[in-house]
Amino acid sequence: MPEPQIITSTTANTPSRRSYVGWLIGLCTAGVSAVLALPLVRFLIYPLTAKTTETKWSDVGAAGEFALLTTPVQRSVIVEQLDGWRKTVSEKIVYVTKDGSGQLQVLSAICPHLGCSVQWTGAKKEFGCPCHGATFSTDGKCTGGPSPRGMDSLESAVQSDRLVVHYRYFRQLVPDKQVIG
């Protein structure tokens, strides 16, 4: 029975022709892979270019409602947080007040000390936290108690005659305002 003839690489095409074909195949493969890799890479880095964890701006009320504000008012806002394909909708308390220069500002009701809800006491004309006795002035500045900083003001704006606010969470127990979510 004759042994099958195995053509070795040295006896088939000459090395230079094979290497040319090899180089060509390699180039085509690289080219095709690059084209195919493009959608894969875009798919992979989608969360780097799109905002996948964002908190939407919340509506507080008609801007006119707060124009003649003399004392802070409490409002609850609907906060929508996006987390990839999930959405959390919650209700949060905010205070609409005027700052030192008479501009509208929106304050978070979460005490910067340990996170209790700050109350407005009309009689004493100040904000007070019932948990550990922190007190704040009408524009949110710390006036007494263990809070390391004043009440946190939230980014707000007036859009189409509505007061809107960007609700965020801030770190407790630190003297500077740090966003944590």
Binding site: P4, T10, A12, N13, I25, W85, S90, E91
Partner: protein
């Protein structure tokens, strides 16, 4: 005797120092030669592309599958949302998902082509029994991949097709019910079904495929390529040509064509996602994917007690004959026209399957009720695809949403609970913290009146913990108590 060290390193045409460095440490040159210098008796042919095309598409499925898994969550409440997220939101998501979905159909088509080519060429002859058997196992594994992958989007089509498929498995006598509940992870379809199918589809079956592909390739190289029909399967005599370069180029071009077709389909006809699975929908008409339709139709002819014969006995006989083919057909004859029994049976079964598929489609369209329902289902799918992506509401939202819907007084109470800082000690939704006990289930211990009294005059224990008497107006206190009583 081939001495790899002596031979010229031909890949770059001249001695490549880097290549030599690697080769001395890995033996890569010898490995490359061994694999690329596979002798094909009678030379490279287009007919031989289907095996490597299968491997190429399988790799493509693995890659697209891994990327899809970056966003997909295999649980009954999230599966559909995450697939919708991929299809509607993520860049190139619809494109990659379509490549993956159409790729599974491509696998089945190429599988049929590969089996048909090797069958007609009699490439199972001449000490290739184990090669053929490993191929049969791969056949079954690929069909398993198609079946398990189909459920993962958890839309109506996926859910009901799997319900039907697992019901069929239940038809097997004696152990059928056991097999069915093993597949389903219980009596009914549900979360456990999805977990099992996901593990099978992503972990177990691909691992088995890799193992059997390796076995298949090793066995193939050991027995050698069978070559054309005119070639002796045991002792080839025709002058061979090496796999590289011509067969590599032919395989490469074919792979390119397949990828181009898949890409064009994915781009112009994106794969649809239907509305989320609704198990209570009794009107839904399940239909499996196109490659299972012939079997779906076949089962209709075997009702009741006959089902054992049609579902188990006959298919088992066919499968057995198919798998044991190299043992039954011992002749060295490879020309198809000289093998009337084998080739005739194969062609007959293939045509029968095709015919069954046609009958099924025609039957669906001829029946006005079915046709209408199928059109409605297709429309529901298209409508769902047109709607923008809707994020899933997380659990925290639903609690407050439920409270708001159920009782506006309790909803007002929920707001007061937060505004009065009750959450600071008693936790979100009354879940409790180290500072204060949980209030969930308090309706079982205190009535509304008792709770109201307790808030106005807290007990000594409560005062010691930090509770101060409530000074809320009566209306607000009622609302707060209503909320607390609703906590569960």
């Amino acid at each position: 005797m081939i001495e790899s060290d002596d031979k010229q390193i031909v890949s770059a045409g001249k001695p490549n120092l880097l290549f030599r460095w690697f080769d001395q440490r890995t033996g890569i040159d010898g490995i490359l030669r061994e694999s690329l210098d596979e002798p094909i008796p009678g030379g490279a042919r287009f007919a031989y592309v289907f095996g490597s095309a299968l491997l190429f598409i399988f790799i493509s499925q693995v890659i697209t599958g891994v990327f899809l898994a970056l966003y997909y969550v295999p649980s009954a409440d999230h599966a559909h949302t995450t697939v919708a997220y991929i299809t509607k939101e993520v860049t190139s998501g619809s494109f990659l998902r379509s490549i993956h979905a159409y790729g599974s159909s491509a696998m089945v088509i190429l599988l049929l082509l590969h089996v048909t080519q090797t069958f007609l060429y009699g490439s199972y002859k001449g000490r290739r029994e184990l090669l053929w058997l490993s191929g049969c196992v791969l056949f079954a594994l690929i069909l398993c991949m198609a079946f398990t992958g189909y459920l993962l989007p958890w839309d109506q089509k996926a859910y009901f097709a799997t319900a039907v498929g697992t019901n069929i498995a239940g038809e097997v006598p004696f152990i059928g019910a056991w097999i069915k509940s093993l597949m389903r992870g219980g009596v009914d379809m549900g979360s456990l079904t999805l977990s099992r199918f996901f593990v099978a589809h992503v972990l177990v079956v691909p691992a088995a495929i890799f193992a059997f592909v390796a076995m298949h390739v090793v066995l193939f190289r050991k027995s050698g390529a069978a070559g054309p029909i005119s070639e002796n399967p045991d002792t080839p005599t025709q002058p061979p040509e090496t796999f590289y370069p011509r067969q590599v180029v032919i395989d490469g071009i074919f792979a390119l064509v397949i990828i181009a077709v898949l890409a064009l389909l994915a781009h112009f006809l994106p794969f649809e996602l239907g509305p989320k699975a609704n198990p209570a929908d009794t009107a839904y008409l399940p239909r499996p994917e196109w490659y299972y339709i012939p079997i779906f139709q076949w089962l209709k002819y075997w009702p009741g007690s006959l089902s054992f014969l049609g579902v188990v006995v006959l298919p088992s006989i066919v499968a057995f004959l198919f798998a044991s083919l190299p043992f039954l057909d011992r002749r060295m004859e490879r020309r198809p026209w000289k093998r009337p029994v084998a080739v005739g049976t194969y062609v007959f079964i293939l045509l029968a399957l095709f015919g069954l598929g046609m009958v099924s489609y025609r039957g669906d369209h001829a029946n006005p009720g079915y046709a209408a329902q199928l059109i409605a289902q297709e429309k529901a799918s298209q409508e769902f695809m047109k709607r923008p992506f809707e994020p899933e509401l997380s659990q925290a939202t639903l609690v407050s949403a439920n409270a708001a819907l159920a009782d506006p007084v309790a909803a007002q109470g929920a707001k007061l609970y937060q505004a009065q800082s009750c959450n600071a000690c008693h936790g979100e939704n009354g879940s409790g913290t180290a500072a204060g006990p949980a209030l969930v289930g308090i309706n079982g211990r205190l009535s509304a009146n008792q709770l109201s009294a307790s808030l106005k005059s807290p007990s000594a224990k409560m005062i010691a913990g930090g509770m101060s008497p409530s000074d809320l107006p009566a209306v607000d206190l009622t609302a707060l108590v209503a909320y607390l009583e609703s906590l569960k």
